[in-house]
Subunit: 515 residues, 2 copies
Amino acid sequence: MVNFRFALNQLGLLFCVLSALQLLIAGWSSLQLLLGDDAELLAARAFTFSALIGFGVGGALWLVNRTAAKTLERREALLMVALSWLVGAALAGLPYLIWANLTATANPEHAFLSPVNCYFEAMSGLSTTGATILTGIDELPRSIVLWRAATHWLGGLGIVVLFVAVLPSLGAGGKKLFRVEAPGPEPEGVRPHIRETAQVLWLIYLGLTLAEIVALRLAGMNWFESVCHTFATLATGGFSTIDASVGGFNAWAVDIVIITFMFLAGVNFGLYYKLIRRDYAVLWRDTEFRVYVGIILVATTLVTLSILGSPITLTSGEVLDPSAAQAVRHGLFTTVSVQTTTGFCSADFNQWPYLAKAVLITLMFIGASAGSTGGGIKIIRIWIVAKVLIAEMERAFRPYVVRPVKVGSTAIDAPMRYGTLAMVLGYLLIVPAGTFLIVIFEEGAGHSIDITTAGTASVATLFNIGPGLGRVGAIENYAWFTDAAKIVMSILMAIGRLEIFAVAVLFFPRFWSGD
Amino acid sequence: MVNFRFALNQLGLLFCVLSALQLLIAGWSSLQLLLGDDAELLAARAFTFSALIGFGVGGALWLVNRTAAKTLERREALLMVALSWLVGAALAGLPYLIWANLTATANPEHAFLSPVNCYFEAMSGLSTTGATILTGIDELPRSIVLWRAATHWLGGLGIVVLFVAVLPSLGAGGKKLFRVEAPGPEPEGVRPHIRETAQVLWLIYLGLTLAEIVALRLAGMNWFESVCHTFATLATGGFSTIDASVGGFNAWAVDIVIITFMFLAGVNFGLYYKLIRRDYAVLWRDTEFRVYVGIILVATTLVTLSILGSPITLTSGEVLDPSAAQAVRHGLFTTVSVQTTTGFCSADFNQWPYLAKAVLITLMFIGASAGSTGGGIKIIRIWIVAKVLIAEMERAFRPYVVRPVKVGSTAIDAPMRYGTLAMVLGYLLIVPAGTFLIVIFEEGAGHSIDITTAGTASVATLFNIGPGLGRVGAIENYAWFTDAAKIVMSILMAIGRLEIFAVAVLFFPRFWSGD
């Protein structure tokens, strides 16, 4: 039997933490109200209500199940992780729903009046996807915008701690993968104790956060914009404070800061730990980091060349005259944004030539480094798969020669090769399955949907990117989908974020039965 | 060192066989000329010239290399197979080129004036793809049309013999796969001797051919049309005698006969051997056959439901009033045609709802049974991958439970699981790579190409189907692509037909070096 009660006990704890954070936002909101921002009146109330409900439910879950045996074996860990995201998103979306209902007379058509929309937006936040069902973000109470950004930041922190500290200590796949990514002197992972590792990661994350807030403020954003965009950058999320995303600011300094920190957020956080310990050579030694830089350089070159000489339309609608500098700027911004699965948009890349789009779609699949906040299949897995396929090709004509498959100097053992192939194949099969479900639900509701839109919506949510192409392109949003399609995409976001297994096994009868 | 000379010697033999067949066509063409078909004058000449060139080159290759050591190890076998298709297609396309040059004054713009087009058409024929660069097929000399169909038939025969008889005897992957597909009393494959097995397969193929020719004749086609469509059906090719494909005949009886034989061509030919030996229960026992029937039933239902109630546009342009009978007819025809990778078209499915298109695209990837003339990933591989992924999911939460992965009653061993995963992943990676190259070459030439067209062109050639969607849809053709894109697609056809490895290893430096 799965120790269901312990998982619920832990979920109760998570609810209390989320509620405490919502109370914090409520406090900030009240402060803004005192400073004269009347829009915050109902928002402060919404956050307070939501926090009270969260404390009530979470406290009850915790209390009722506090006597549960504290066994955190693999099944319990997977269940806890899956519940944290799938159920946690409901609480994270609650303030949106309450606020929309409080203001329903003034905004009778607001997207947040639909519970499915609120869940989608919250899941998009926590999973650091950045796909939104909103328009008119500029008109929302600022506390709501801040909470959206905060869900990104929390989700990003959760993922780094999960994949670098928690899962490896349980002996799950993450450990081996992490060892491959950041080989070094420590035989037992970065540090032996979960708590200590988690603390270091938390400090790194906090340090990067403070650095980017200051940098964005210096680049010309106000403090509020700086904080929100920092949260969205470091989590590779993509929510902005305005509909036009980063393109609406159209400032060189802002773009450069955000490009830099998107790049940093896509690096394995284990590397920062090594850098802190003055092991600078790790940057040259680490295969994934070198491939990451290489992919960005090649992709940026291709994208830049393909848009060179054409006018560039920003997401704000402004059209820039053709210039090499602008092509490099927006080519680099878009490449890094998509590669790291952040999904900030500066230019409307839906209008770019197909070559640029084909490169960007390829990047969506690859994604960022393992152990980063980014999504996608992850560079190290792509690298392992490439090595395995080359080895298999050789086996076709030379069956008795056995060559080890290596990443850097580390040999990849058979179960890991096999597991990596299976996981990548799993991802590649979920993409068409997601596309299929989206098409079925849209056509079932009598809407017509083209394959580019449905396919990239599936990719952009599964790989936690945000924008896709066609009607989910850079200047579009996800509001127009049917509820059923939005639920499919919410689950895709969770599946992608938790690297398939934690969510997928829940649908597995044998998970719930047996010893 | 690869025994290059023996491979060339065998290639010489193949050239002589192809040339003999072209002489046969030249003879038939001359007969038509005597019967008053003046268009055959230059065609007969073209086939004769081509045969003479083929005999010259082939004979020289054979003679010069006849002293080569007769070692047919794995590398030599792979090289021979790859050369047969890649170089054989050049000879198969030679009559087209010669004929077009002989008639250049009358047809100064004919597609066959381009050597790349001729190669594409011949490779499309031999690989049983059925993608064409032609329009105005009705106006071609009938001997040219017959040769196009004959390349299908030869290619289909070659593939069945190769995968069921030759490769297994070399201990290549095919043997194991074949054992899984058609488990039975013989421990050493269908029959122990290549020659004998090949003979039985040849007789089965011939029997099916004669049966379909008669059936189509009775269904109302003339003998010429019956023969050509039979060649294209049994090879799961798809070349027709008219531009509008099978839709141009618009006859219930023709559709029913062709659906039946497409279905039969998509079955593992090993099963027919069992049926001949009165082992009728093999149809129930064989997992792949059951899944094959199941997929067709489910897909036909989905496609039929999605086109029900709408008028159906035939490939001839004729529009049928909505009726359930027509929806079932064209839903079934198109489903079986795509699933078996034949690619005959009755209706213009490019106009169908996206749900139907999504089903058809899924079928393109799945393909027919292993050991059939069909292409695609093959049902048995999809089945194994599904089983493996389910087993891996269980491993995520119960790592110490080992369950065998079974197909029917046969357990799949680790190297085969691993090899199947690698091959499927290889296919899935070649699709975007092909799409990418097509986009690059088209945009490089200043053409705009949409992702649906480029993507389905890649899928439709790699998986040997023929028509795709968009501008390679049911009523379109491949003539408008640049030469570079056509060469990419020709290679994709060969890669798909030879199941990746035989072609891919040629680009592998280690294949050519070492012991």
